[in-house]
Structure formats: C-alpha cells, structure tokens
C-alpha cells in the first residue's frame, strides 16, 4: 500500500471515527439501534455543501457548515426519538422512517442529488496557510485537521458520559427502571443521546464533503454498518470497560477498518472491487457478533458490554 493510500485510509477512518462514536452512543450506551445515521450523514453533507456553495455567509461558511450540520443532524435524531418515545414506535422502525424522510429533505436542501464544492473555500483551504507555515505537507495537514476535530468531539463525549447526566444516559440503556426510580428521565436521556449521536454523524458528513469536494444524497448508504464495524472492532481491541477507552477504541476500530479495506482493495490477488466493500463489511460485522458466543466455550474473553444478539432470559 502506498503512503498516499495509507493517509487516505487514515483520514477516512478518522472521519468515520465520529460515526463510530455516534453508533457507540446509540447501540451501546442507550441500547437504541438507530438507523437514522444513514440519513443524517448525507444531511450534514447537504447542509455544509449548500452553505458553502451559496456563498451567502462568506469566509466562515466552512466552519458554520460544521455547526449547522451538527444541528441539522441533531434535529433528525430528535425526530426519531420523538417517534419512538411519544408514539411508542419500535425504535428500529422509527429510525428507518426518519432515514427515508431525510432522503427527500436532502435533495430539497441541495436542490439536486449531487452537489460539487470543488474550488470553494473549505476547512482545508482555510487552514492550509497555517499548516504551510508549520511546514506540514498537504496530505498530512488533512489528516491532522480531521484528527483535531475528532479529538475535540471525542473529549466532549467522554466528558458528557462522565457527568451526572451522562451516568443517567448510560444507565438508561441498561436498566431504565433503575433510572426512573432514582428520578432520572430515561426519555430525556434518549432525546439527548440521539441528538448528539446524529449531530456527530452529520458533522462527519460535512467534513467528508469538504475534504472530498462533493455532497451526494446516496453517500449515507451503509453508514450504520460501518459505524457498527468500528465499534465492534474497537471492542475486540481493548478489554477495558472504561468509557474513555471504549470511545478511543471506536476511533481506532474505524481506522483499522479503513486500513483493512484499503489493503483488501490494493491486493489484486484477492480480486475485490470497490463495490464488494459492503459485502465484506457485513460479513465482518456478522462474524464479530457471533464470535463472542463461539469463544465462550473456549478461552476466556471479555464479553461485550451489551450484546446485540437476542437476549436469552437468565434462568
């Protein structure tokens, strides 16, 4: 693999590290399988691209785009939470409804299914002089920039989960009766969790768009599975249950996933083409879900905090 391909994988891995953290929040912390992310990723892309291309707000557009993307994603998350909590719609189905609706919304925002942002001001072009002054090459600069954004986001999430409110969020997914009996609102926790999660995913979409020069309404397909792959790969890397370790593991898992994919694609003897990625990802996630069960009889391995498999009632 070339250095260029490696840096590309690293960059993409970092961007999808945000998706990994987001999926960790919903699947693991809240125990709320949320497919909204497939819609909120292109939603973030669409919002950022439209803001930048419209030129209405000038030089700050790339940064405002990130914030606006976060807010738009948060709204999508709130809608899913509202459907699930207020109307008691099955969480998976509620999220699919929002995801489908987002497709139409995204095309409305952009006015068309695909919007290029080539030659426009982006977070890359705006930070380029600063990185040049520090004598950092352009390819490295991109990775460093994304790393900085992801690091800040990860720290904020870790800090959130370490707060009194965050503890209630973490308990909500595990034992909501306990949360209620202690005066916590499991509904509020779900609202906030889904808003933050989808905000992060939309921000990942906004960064992706600015780094790659386009927004596409179909870019969100499979986001949930890629995020899940990051979470599960990360969990197999670390044995700890500490929250900060698990969050960092999501990012590491995402990077590892991208590097593995880049390797697979670069190794011509495997005969894989880019469109095979979805199949490979699905197989990896399926294996990772089954593996803990198969290992149980063998050597001792840390059990995942919360299984996505059907729960067997304890006798």
């Amino acid at each position: 693999m070339t250095v260029f391909a490696f840096l590309g994988a690293l960059e993409l891995g970092l961007i999808y590290g945000l998706v990994g953290i987001a999926v960790f929040l919903t699947f693991r912390v809240l125990d709320f399988p949320d497919l909204t992310v497939d819609g909120s990723l292109p939603l973030g892309s669409a919002v950022a691209a439209t803001l930048i291309v419209s030129g209405g707000i000038g030089a700050m557009a790339p940064w405002v785009g990130l914030v606006a993307a976060f807010l738009a994603g948060a709204c999508a998350g709130l809608i899913t939470a509202f459907l699930a909590i207020r109307f008691n719609i099955l969480n998976l189905l509620a999220s699919i409804l929002t995801m489908i609706a987002a497709y139409s919304i995204n095309i409305r925002i952009m006015g068309r299914p695909n919007l290029p942002v080539l030659g426009e001001e982006t977070i890359i072009s705006q930070t380029a002089p600063a990185f040049a002054a520090m004598d950092v090459g352009q390819d490295f600069a991109r990775v460093l920039l994304v790393l900085a954004v992801v690091a800040v986001a990860a720290w904020l999430i870790i800090r959130l989960l370490a707060s009194d409110f965050g503890l209630a969020m973490r308990a909500t997914g595990q034992n909501s009766r306990f949360v209620l009996a202690n005066g916590g609102s499991s509904a509020l926790c779900t609202y906030v969790g889904l808003a933050v999660s989808n905000g992060l995913v939309a921000m990942a979409g906004a960064i992706f768009t600015q780094l790659n020069g386009f927004a596409d309404v179909n870019a969100g397909v499979g986001t949930i599975v890629v995020g899940l792959a990051a979470v599960i790969l990360g969990e197999t890397l670390v044995g700890s249950r500490k929250i900060w370790v698990l969050i960092v593991a999501c990012i590491m898992g995402s990077i590892l996933y991208r590097i593995a994919m880049a390797f697979a694609l670069n190794t011509s003897s495997l005969g894989l083409q880019a469109s095979d990625l979805n199949l490979v990802t699905a197989v990896i996630v399926a294996l990772a879900l089954v593996a803990p069960k198969m290992r149980k009889s063998g050597f001792k391995a840390p059990r995942p905090r919360l299984s996505l498999q059907k729960k067997v009632p304890a006798k």
Binding site: L167, A171, V179, N182, S186
Partner: protein, 264 residues
C-alpha cells in the same frame, strides 16, 4: 404524612382478563412510621407499593404526600419523595456500571442532573465512609462492576443507596425474598438500622410474618385487594405469628390457608 385515599386499581378493565387488584384501600402513614405489609399472593400488597411509587396507575382514588396530590406524577418525578428497593437485585442497581457510578446515580435522586463530573474525590470519600457501614469491604472496591457482586451485596447496596438522598418514604418490595436466609437476616437488620439512623418513614412489603411483626411500628395485612388488618402500638406489641393467624381467622371467619405465610 403519606396518605392514600380510597385507592382502586383495576387491571385490564372491561376485558375477560379484568383483575381488581385494589378495591378501595385507604391508608395514612404519619412521618417516622415504619409500616410492614403482609398478605398472600394476589392480595394486592405489591400493587399498593406500586401505587405509592407511581409505577402503577390508579383507576380511582388519590395519593397525597405532605398534602400535595401526587396521584398523576410519574415515577421519575415522584422519586424526589420516594426511595425504593426492589425485590430483584438486578433492578435495584445498574449491573454494568461500577459501584461508585451506581452510588453517584442514587445520590442525585431528587436533584437536577447536570454536566458536572459525577465522580469527584470528595464524593468517593463520602462513598467510602458510607460503605464502611456494611462491613463488606466494598469501600476498597469502588471501581468494580456492581454486577459482579452477590445478590445480597447488591441488595444491601441498593438499600444503602436509597438513603443517599432524602425521601418522604422508603419503599421496600420484598427486598429479602431473593436472598439466602443468612443474607436475608443481614439485610433485614441493615434495614432496621438505616431506618432508625435516618428516622425514615418506610413501608416494607414482605412474605415473612416473622419479619412483618418484628420490624417496624405497624403491620397491615392485605387480603383480596382490601386492607384487612391494621394493627400498631400495644395491640401489636409482643404479637407472635400464631397470634396474628388467630386474629386473621377471627376477622375473616376463615382459616388462613396460605402456608407460606405461616412457615416464613
């Protein structure tokens, strides 16, 4: 002062599965009273507790706490005033979280949960102090997952956690039923000690007539969704389970057939 007036709870009303769990129960619990509630299966004692906790919606009647009508308040709002220990140790604590995280969660009952750090050194120090009371060595295991502890340890912790924040009433829902006899004794004694130490108002549902009479200041017997016997003070003083059964037969004109009440 907790006051239940004319509480009726009917599950699945108007269907073939209709069940009248409570048929007009009134109960006043003055501050500082420790009521034990006994009754056979289906007598309505757990439903009564659920009504107080806000978990079971009432069909009619009202629940007042210190003169405020809380009948319509959901569980999490009522938790400001109501502390609770569940029968199932898995419900009373959050298994995947650590001991200190569970304690921090319980500590914030009745307070708004903000974004300040849940675990500070100051809080840890407080936790260690409180955990020493149990004599289980848990003060040195703050970071351990609470799910790794035995059922008895979790139940003792759940009880301790219920006293972390002030409450108008502490509800104990057969909280020793899932424990082995030795541990059940320990938890019952801890219950007595904590209630005395903090001067709590409490209601304990139990299957054990011995515990019902030896704990607390007042005993209520539920039967068929009604309050059948309600004794306290001199009348209750020195009463043995046999005396209680005799009282039941006299009141009901019927023999007590549920062996579990006598054997427990």
């Amino acid at each position: 002062m907790i006051s239940l007036s004319n509480i009726v709870v009917t599950f699945n009303p108007g269907t073939a599965l209709e069940k009248r769990a409570l048929r007009g129960v009134s109960l006043d619990i003055p501050e500082g009273e420790f009521v034990t509630v006994i009754g056979s299966n289906g007598a309505g004692k757990s439903t009564l507790l659920g009504v107080l906790a806000g978990e079971t919606p009432v069909t009619s009647g009202s629940v007042m706490i210190d003169g405020r009508d809380v009948t319509a308040l959901p569980v999490q709002k009522r938790a400001d005033d109501v502390a609770r220990v569940f029968q199932d140790p898995n419900v009373g604590v959050c298994g995947p979280l650590s001991i200190e995280e569970n304690l921090a969660l319980a500590m914030m009952r009745g307070n708004a949960r903000g974004l300040s750090r849940a675990l500070t050194e100051e809080r840890r120090q407080q936790f260690r102090e409180r955990l020493k009371v149990l004599g289980m060595g848990l003060e040195d295991r703050l970071g351990d997952r609470i799910g790794l502890l035995s059922g008895g340890q979790r139940q003792a912790l759940s009880l301790l956690m219920a006293t972390f924040a002030p409450s108008r009433i502490l509800l104990l829902d057969e909280h020793t039923a899932a424990l082995d006899p030795k541990m059940a004794d320990f938890v019952i004694n801890l219950t007595r000690d904590l209630i005395a130490e903090f001067g709590l108002t409490a209601m304990m549902v139990t299957h054990s007539m011995g515990d019902a009479l030896s704990c607390g200041t007042r005993t209520v017997m539920m039967h068929g969704g009604r309050k059948l016997i309600d004794i306290q003070g001199g009348e209750r003083e020195g009463m043995t389970p046999a005396d209680f059964v005799a009282l039941f037969s006299k009141t009901q004109g019927d023999d007590l057939t549920d062996d579990s009440l006598l054997l427990a």
